[in-house]
């Protein structure tokens, strides 16, 4: 409630989440400001766990103006535990623009197969999430069943 009151006093708008994606790489073309996302995924497959995974977190916001404090929680869904957390703040000068963010954590820990998600919060309010699934790679017999291919 206190945060709501402060937002009202500051005349802050609530962010609208235009996109929230995980990918291998996000490239910004400096001349145009356009973003290109390479290798968008929602699944990580590995032979063994735990692993540390490289990834880029991309999100795009609209309906923002003024100063915002952001928080991203990286959460293991099964345990509902935060595996890491990042905070940052930013000023937005123009409400009619959309703003892109590219986050590159050096490593994203994946302790076991299961569901994981990044949760975005702005000024203490929940904005949205992006989930991915970590799977253990099955044996070759399962993935490449030669009998079913032949027949």
């Amino acid at each position: 409630m206190e945060q709501n009151q402060r937002d009202k006093e500051d005349n802050k708008t609530l962010p609208f989440l235009v996109a929230f994606l995980l990918c291998d790489m996000a490239i910004r073309e400096e001349e145009t400001g356009k973003d290109t996302l390479v290798g968008i995924f929602d699944r990580v497959i590995s032979k063994k766990f735990p692993i540390d995974q490289n990834m880029t977190i991309y999100f795009r916001l609209a309906n923002v103006i003024g100063h915002y404090e952001f928080r991203i929680d990286y959460v293991q869904v099964r345990t509902d535990k935060i595996l890491f957390q990042a905070r940052f703040e930013r000023d937005f000068p123009e409400i009619f623009s959309e703003y892109s963010f590219r986050l590159r954590p050096p490593m994203v820990p994946i302790p076991e197969p299961g569901q994981y998600e990044f949760r975005l919060w702005a000024n203490g309010h929940y904005v949205g999430r992006r989930r991915f699934i970590a799977e253990k790679m099955q044996g070759r017999k399962v993935f490449y069943d030669t009998r079913s291919r032949r027949h």
Binding site: L14, P15, G33, K81, A86, R87, F88
Partner: protein
């Protein structure tokens, strides 16, 4: 033209992060030192800022309470007496967001045929929700 906000870099290594920050020209991100201790991710009560319908914008945050019944999570929005259900907390929140958006469009369509209770809900929805 959309302003270039640049990359955000962060790391669980606080010392390494600080050196990265010096190089950064756009953003600084602080990693909470206590974040490496295990924390419960979903608070029992919090506020949401969107309804997951790109035609609708919330003008003020909505308070949500999370409860668990056996294997099902329930997200409650007391103001509108609406609920969302899911296998995990944030899935129940998504269900609640979609339910509220559906409620908005349904009541908008039926606004001339609503009883007193639903008129009150519709009026409250209009105070909170703005069409883009």
């Amino acid at each position: 033209m959309i302003p270039d906000l640049g990359d955000i870099k962060f790391t669980p290594d606080q010392e390494k992060f600080l050196s990265e920050t010096k190089k950064s020209i756009t953003f600084s991100i602080d990693i909470e030192p206590e974040s490496f201790e295990i924390q419960q991710a979903t608070p029992q009560g919090f506020t949401i800022s969107t309804l997951l319908d790109d035609r609708l914008i919330l003008q003020m945050p909505l308070e949500v309470e999370i409860e668990r019944e056996n294997e099902t999570y329930i997200a409650k929005c007391g103001v509108f007496e609406e609920f969302g259900y899911g296998d995990d907390p944030m899935t129940s929140v998504i269900d609640l967001q979609q339910t509220l958006a559906e409620l908005y469009w349904t009541l908008k369509e039926e606004q001339n045929r609503l009883g007193p209770y639903l008129i009150r809900i519709w009026n409250r929805l209009q105070e909170v929700i703005l069409e883009r």
